[in-house]
């Protein structure tokens, strides 16, 4: 890999190809989650790779290369949709309804179905959910990245989960009755966050 990276620094086309091919699936998976559709995702991926190729000399070899790439691609994707990110005003998360306890039932859902569900979210919900739940960003980091408050980040994450839960429920109508219940009052979502398993950062 080091040889490929140094080849990319020299702008060697075949090294660039090898790097692209190596991280194609990884990068495209990120882009698809943030993008409206797969075609858009490929464009975002290439924008991201262009940044990678143009800035590869800035990569610090002490740090994992994959997460460096992931971060650039994620940032590219966010920048791409930044204009579409319309965040609702901050709401007190504690007043929000909690929905769903049957998600586990759908664990067998295929990649494409999950992707379709995520792409169906509004850009703001999708971005926050991606960053928090999948890419492992904290609310503080999300707030800084998206120039929003941590509260807005939390409420958007919450609403995103809610939407996803609803959609999951619609997929299997028979379970619809089970997925809706009033959340206990006074639950602090931050505690929920703290209970999250180790983040993949």
């Amino acid at each position: 890999m080091q040889r490929i990276i140094s080849g990319c620094i020299k702008k060697d086309r075949s090294s660039q190809y090898l790097l692209y091919k190596e991280f194609y699936s990884y990068g495209l998976a990120i882009c698809r989650r943030y993008a409206l559709d797969d075609e858009d995702a490929a464009d975002v991926l290439n924008d991201g790779f262009l940044k990678i190729f143009n800035n590869i000399e800035k990569y610090d070899p002490e740090k994992p290369f994959k997460s460096w790439i992931g971060k650039i691609i994620t940032n590219t994707a966010i920048d791409h949709y930044r204009a579409n990110l319309k965040f609702a005003d901050h709401e007190d998360v504690s007043t929000l309804e909690h929905i769903g306890d049957a998600a586990i039932v759908y664990s067998q859902l295929a990649y494409k179905e999950l992707l379709a569900l995520i792409q169906g979210l509004s850009p703001a919900y999708r971005t926050v959910f991606n960053l928090y739940a999948i890419d492992g960003y904290s609310h503080e980091e999300i707030a800084e990245l998206l120039k929003i408050s941590t509260g807005t980040s939390k409420s958007n994450l919450f609403k995103a989960r809610q939407k996803l839960q609803e959609k999951l429920a619609t997929i299997n109508g028979s379970l619809k009755a089970d997925v809706s219940f009033i959340a206990r009052q006074g639950v602090n979502p931050i505690n929920v966050n703290n209970e999250m398993p180790a983040k993949n950062r």
Partner: protein, 453 residues
């Protein structure tokens, strides 16, 4: 809040590390993106490069076009300096002055010999052109008529000397000596026995008109001797140079196109229409459009850093439809009665209309993989190919000729999607039709002119 964790986990597990099959087309787009940024950086040098090439071609052409008149002017100037300047303000009464007469006679002799020679070469055409030129028309009429029957006075006099004669003759005709010159000319022309009365009347009328124009106080009407000299010189040059001729050619050419390292090569084909415009007897420019179907391949062991098959056996078969727009300059080395030989050089632009590639990797048998790539209208290489060829033309008749042209096309840049070093070597066969052929007089004059040299 297990359910929230569950949703996050469900998506995290389901979405974070999928196996998305690699799509070569996305890399193609990526490459274009990379090329785009590189091209932007390279834009100025590329422009300079192209501009330099065009400037070089123009310089050669202009140098050739301008070199002849420069020489004439120089020589003309030398000749003129040997003629004593005529005193200004000579009165009409001094018409018979011996010194002036001598000078006029000298000038007249020069005009005479020059006219005779030119007339012999370019015939009636030049005669009429000089007549238009004004001041000396009266004299020329007489000389022209006279020399039609007379043998050439100085048959071996070079055309340049002839020009000198004319130049000094004209330069003598400053406004202040105008009347004298005309009178002297008129006087000598009367001595020509067989001048027709019509010609005489024309001569007198033109003479009067020329004098009136030269001495006119109206700045718009006044014609200065330098203008006349320029006009005559221009007409001289036009008369002595060949008519510009346009030649249309239909060509067909098989060629062998190769990209290193090459295994075997199929024969590629070219079909096109070209137009050649003659700038001079020796120089011409050619352009047109050639549709080429190029087959080539690259095979062997791929280099270590090859993205498709690092250090493996591989083969790339390419089938490309290319529009080739050449811009060549031709120089005639030999021009015999029927055969002419030219060396041609220039640049071609390739427009890759369709590129089809087949990548074969791995050893023959079960392990062999074949992948294809097809792109359309994605690559163009402006002036990216150097042309060099030698052409042999056999004239069938006045208008038609057939040509045989061994050629080579050498890339100055990487060609096509793979940026390959694509060379073509072949032989072109052409049928050429000359349009707007040179007028006979001009043509013969040129032939004679070149034989005199």
């Amino acid at each position: 809040m297990e359910n929230e964790n569950d949703i996050d986990q469900l998506f995290k597990n389901g979405l974070s590390d999928p196996e998305i099959p690699f799509n070569e087309l996305d890399w193609e787009k990526m490459e274009r993106k990379l090329d785009g940024t590189e091209n932007k950086k390279r834009l100025i040098p590329m422009w300079l490069y192209t501009a330099t090439g065009i400037a070089a071609v123009l310089t050669v052409v202009l140098f050739w076009l301008l070199s002849t008149p420069v020489e004439i002017n120089k020589k003309g100037g030398e000749e003129l300096s040997s003629v004593e300047p005529v005193k200004p303000g000579i009165k009409k009464a001094e018409l018979e002055n011996n010194t002036a007469d001598l000078k006029m006679n000298r000038a007249e002799h020069q005009i005479n010999s020059a006219d005779t020679h030119i007339h012999q070469e370019t015939g009636q055409q030049f005669y009429s052109q000089v007549q238009i030129a004004g001041n000396i028309s009266g004299r020329t009429t007489a000389v022209g008529l006279m020399t039609e029957q007379a043998p050439p006075v100085l048959p071996l006099l070079s055309a340049i000397t002839a020009n000198d004669g004319i130049n000094s003759g004209i330069n003598l005709m400053r406004p202040e000596v105008n009347l004298q010159v005309s009178s002297t000319l008129a006087h000598s022309s009367k001595e020509v026995a067989d001048v027709s009365t019509a010609a005489e009347r024309d001569r007198i009328a033109l003479e009067k008109k020329a004098n009136a124009l030269a001495q006119s106080k109206d700045p718009f009407e006044k014609i200065t001797p330098t203008e006349i000299a320029r006009s005559v010189q221009k007409n001289m040059e036009t008369a002595l140079s060949p008519r510009n001729t346009l030649i249309l050619s239909a060509m067909a050419a098989p060629d062998i196109t190769t990209a290193k390292p090459s295994k075997s090569s199929k024969v590629s084909s070219n079909l096109g229409m070209l137009a050649t415009y003659a700038l001079s007897p020796k120089f011409s420019v050619t352009s047109g459009a050639i549709y080429a179907k190029k087959y080539y391949n690259s095979a062997g062991t791929a280099p270590q850093d090859n993205p498709y098959a690092a250090a493996q056996d591989w083969e790339v078969d390419a089938d490309c439809n290319v529009l080739d727009i050449p811009l060549n300059v031709n120089y005639k080395l030999l021009n015999k009665k029927r055969l002419s030989v030219s060396v041609n050089t220039g640049l071609s632009s390739y427009f890759m209309l369709k590129e089809k590639y087949e990548f074969i990797t791995g050893a023959a048998g079960a392990g062999q993989q074949v992948s294809t790539l097809e792109v359309q209208n994605q690559n163009k290489h402006l002036f990216g190919i150097a042309n060099i060829s030698l052409s042999f033309d056999h004239r069938i008749n006045e208008s038609f000729s057939v040509g045989l042209q061994p050629f080579a096309k050498l890339p100055l840049t990487g060609i096509g999607n793979g940026n390959v070093d694509l060379k073509s070597v072949g032989v072109s066969f052409s049928l050429n039709i000359g349009l707007f052929p040179a007028k006979k007089t001009g043509k013969y004059a040129v032939v004679k002119y070149s034989s005199l040299k």
